[in-house]
């Protein structure tokens, strides 16, 4: 238990340090000013969310292949955590957009595909509540999860393939893109901190799922008596 508390405190310190760096170490951007500091939280949360959905995708594939319940547990844990991160992306994005674009929201390719991604993983979790039988629930949700992941490359490519409202990528954006070195360092530190938080939350959520499986087994034993 103390080990978990220690890891939690370490993760919290990392996230706090990344916020400090975003406010006090990163230089102020010339055209957008202070509001650009949301970038370090907004984009890093998006990266962490996409990683969580990738974990979910791999777990779903492994469940379909091996039919072992722990892959289902990992899949649902990563989906919930990914959803929390993408919720933050969808909240911080409009807060950043209003002073810069003059509007909170527009149906451009990146925003729409991210919103669809959020809806797909909400549906993944809702689907699980509708099926009682554990093996059937695990298989159907794994298949749906594999389908839902198809939107992830679309979100990644949206600002590369179509030029709409959302800015072009500054990382992995090709020639002419890039960040000032201090901004880049602060951004990658934020990415690291939020990935640590994502891993911590997945482990916590996975333990909950393990407990649920144990309860199901004991319940079945009690009914058999």
């Amino acid at each position: 238990m103390w080990k978990r508390g220690f890891v939690g405190a370490a993760v919290l310190s990392l996230v706090a340090a990344s916020a400090y760096a975003s406010f006090f170490i990163a230089p102020t951007e010339r055209t957008m000013g202070l509001i650009q500091r949301i970038f370090y939280f907004h984009a890093a949360s998006a990266w962490a969310g996409m990683t969580a959905f990738s974990v979910c995708f791999v777990a779903n594939l492994l469940y379909v292949w091996r039919r072992q319940p722990h892959w289902d547990s990992l899949g649902v844990s990563a989906a919930e955590v990914g959803l929390a991160f993408i919720t933050i992306v969808l909240i911080t994005g409009p807060i950043w957009a209003k002073p810069v674009w003059g509007i909170y929201w527009t149906w451009d390719a990146r925003l729409t595909s991210t919103f669809v991604l959020w809806l797909l993983y909400i549906s993944y979790l809702l689907l699980r509540t509708l099926i009682e039988e554990p093996d059937r629930r695990a298989l159907l949700s794994a298949l749906f999860g594999i389908f839902a992941f198809l939107d992830v490359p679309l979100v990644f490519g949206a600002i590369r393939w179509w030029r709409t409202q959302h800015p072009a990528p500054v990382i992995m954006g090709g020639p002419g893109s890039g960040l000032e070195p201090t901004m880049r360092a602060v951004f990658f530190f934020s990415v690291f901190a939020l990935h640590a938080l994502m891993a911590f939350l997945i482990v916590e959520r996975y333990d909950l799922e393990k407990l649920r499986t144990e309860l199901d087994i004991v319940r079945r034993e009690a009914e058999a008596l």
Partner: protein
């Protein structure tokens, strides 16, 4: 200092989402643990 309030709002709302998510996981875990202990005890009494 233009837009400082918006930057703070974004960070505070973001942290609130993480905190709320962590709390729901901790609460659901505690409830499941209670159910499991109760069931195990009733099985012991029954046997």
């Amino acid at each position: 200092m233009k837009n400082l309030g918006s930057v703070f709002a974004a960070y505070v709302v973001g942290w609130a989402v993480f905190f709320a998510f962590y709390l729901t996981v901790a609460r659901r875990t505690a409830l499941l643990r209670q159910d499991l202990d109760r069931l195990k005890q009733s099985m012991k009494k029954g046997s």
